[in-house]
Each structure stands twice: as structure tokens, then as C-alpha cells.
């Protein structure tokens, strides 16, 4: 991933919203587009079908301005969630710097969430990336719906965590956003790390910027 271009003094970061179909990825981008200062955003592009389903991708460039001499920009992409568009999804992951997984909280969509997460893992692996090593956050969307599964259930199914091999990272790390919860902890004698998670209602914008803020900061940290 080459994000820093010294010749043009530019830093470009590619953030991808991934997740099952109709989970709210495009809605996330639309909310960002509607709320962000006009001077900071570019044109939003949606390659969608006639029924408004994402066909290839949505794209929104967001300008952070010039920081320490570098023009810094985030490129926000969504992927098509529908299962049969995997070739498109894989293409969009090329050169990715950070991933937000938008899960659909509805109990009925649990299987679709898990399938999409496995798909993300294997598509990244094909590009030579390891999901556990790149900036990654999870968003539990549609929290306002009556059939939304409880967060602990979603965490167990979608964000069970991965083993922490690095000894320096094997220490109890509280989740700053959820009291009493941990991002790194010991489970049955094994150190496990989980992705930070956020609850959202993308249609009203709740949690949308929290997710984006957290992911973009994780990506920026990798530059330091």
C-alpha cells in the first residue's frame, strides 16, 4: 500500500465499507456526503442498478486539507453487498488502507453477516492482506429496528476476535467506547483481540461519523 506520494506531496488513504447487501453501506456514505463541509468533499459517485442497489461501487473523496506540507485525502468506497458481485468486491479491495464492516443487526441477517465477513477475509487474503493486521472497525447498523439482535450476540458471531501472537500486545486493553469491555483480553487462557465496534442507525446518521472517525484515525496512525 503506497499512500504517500512524495513527488506530489500527497497522501491518499483508501477506506472501504464492506458488508452484506442492504446493510447500509451506501447510506453511510450518503450521510457523510450530506453533512460534510462542501469545501472538503468531492463529487459522490454511485454505480448503481435501476433499483438503487450498488452495482460496482460508491465513491466519495474527502479532503482533510494540507497537513505538514502533505495534501491529505480519504477516498471512501463501498462494495456491492450482493453475493454474486464478488469480482467487483475483490477489485475494490485492491490497495485498501482501512475497512469498516457494516453489519446488519437484524437477527434474520446473521448468516449473511457471517458469510460477508468470511468473504472479506478471503478476498483480502487474495490481495496478500491480513484483516487482523490492517485498520479495521465494525459497525452494527439498524440498531433502531425491533428485530435487532443484542450486541453481545452480534459480537460473538461476527467479532469473536483473533489470537494475539505479539507478546508486547498481550495486555488487557479496555475498549474506550464501551465501559467494562476490552479490545484485548484473555479468553480461556488465550490472548484475543477484537475489532473496535460501533452501533449505528445510518438512516438518521447516528454512529456514522463515530465509525468514520475511528477508522480514519487508525489509518493515519499507520503513517506515523
Amino acid at each position: 500500500m503506497s499512500m504517500i506520494n512524495y513527488a506530489s506531496r500527497e497522501i491518499n488513504c483508501k477506506l472501504v465499507y464492506y458488508g452484506p447487501g442492504l446493510g447500509g453501506k451506501t447510506t453511510n456514505l450518503e450521510h457523510v456526503f450530506s453533512k460534510i463541509a462542501p469545501t472538503a468533499k468531492g463529487k459522490m459517485i454511485s454505480l448503481a442498478t435501476e433499483t438503487e442497489r450498488t452495482l460496482f461501487f460508491d465513491f466519495l473523496p474527502v479532503d482533510l486539507g494540507t497537513i505538514r506540507g502533505f495534501k491529505t485525502r480519504f477516498h471512501l468506497y463501498t462494495v456491492p453487498g450482493q453475493v454474486y458481485y464478488n469480482a467487483s468486491r475483490k477489485l475494490i479491495l485492491k490497495g485498501v488502507d482501512g475497512v469498516a464492516f457494516v453489519a446488519d443487526s437484524q437477527i434474520e441477517r446473521m448468516e449473511a453477516n457471517i458469510e460477508s465477513m468470511q468473504n472479506l477475509y478471503s478476498n483480502l487474503a487474495e490481495h496478500g492482506y491480513d484483516l487482523t493486521q490492517i485498520p479495521f472497525v465494525i459497525q452494527y447498523n439498524k440498531r433502531d429496528l425491533p428485530n435487532a439482535a443484542p450486541v453481545p450476540e452480534l459480537q460473538t458471531a461476527i467479532n469473536p476476535g483473533w489470537p494475539v501472537e505479539d507478546l508486547t500486545r498481550q495486555r488487557l486493553t479496555p475498549d474506550p467506547r464501551h465501559e467494562g469491555e476490552f479490545l484485548v483480553e484473555q479468553v480461556n487462557g488465550q490472548w484475543v483481540e477484537r475489532a473496535p465496534y460501533f452501533e449505528s442507525v445510518a438512516t438518521s446518521g447516528d454512529g456514522v461519523f463515530d465509525t468514520l472517525k475511528a477508522l480514519s484515525k487508525l489509518v493515519i496512525k499507520t503513517l506515523g
Binding site: I4, F59, I67, F209, I220, K221, G224
Partner: protein, 122 residues
Amino acid sequence: MIATVGAETAFDPLAFASLTAADFSANDQLARLIGEPEFGSLFHQGEKDSMYLADIAHRVILVVLFDNHTTLGLVKLRVKSAVGSLNHVFIEMQAREEAGANRVESGFVGDAEDEIDRLFGE
């Protein structure tokens, strides 16, 4: 990084560039499906305006927009020699970048985080 030359265009260059990149990537996959390693160039024909795209050093895409005042053959000819010289430039540039440390000066992360808070603060 986007650079343009020639007559001014009315469209958003960033949007244009992202679609161009997607176009190239999708066609790359199509090439593989038919057993080609890649398509080095693409041509899109319009009624009045057309575009010719060429890959440079597997890193940059050269897009030539042209109208009925010229011919595809001439554009192809000119692009071929331009791609030859631009290839050298970008390969050299890439080597220089790889030689340099892929890091920004200290203080960048803090400043960028402040800017993220400001911009995404709602």
C-alpha cells in the same frame, strides 16, 4: 495524483480518475478471463468525443480525450511514443520513492487527528 493538459474540461477530475481506474481494473479482470495477462490500452468510442486509455508502468493511467477532428490511428501512434517515455519517468520515480522511508515527519499524526475531529465532528 492527477495531472491534466490541453483544453479545459467541465467534469470533476477526481471523479473521472476514480472511474477510469475502476474501468481499467474491471477490464484487467476481463483480460484474464480470456487468457490475456492484461489489456495495455482501452478505447471508448462516442458520437463526438472518444477516449483512449493506456497503462503506464502499471501505476498510472494516461487518458486521451479527443473529438472528430483527429483519428484513432493518429492518437494511438502518439500515445505509443508518449507511453514509452512516460514509462521511464514513472519507473524512476517509483524507485526513488521506494528508496525513501515511507514515513511522514513527527507531528503529522497528531495534526491529522485534530483535523479528523474537526471535519468529522458533525
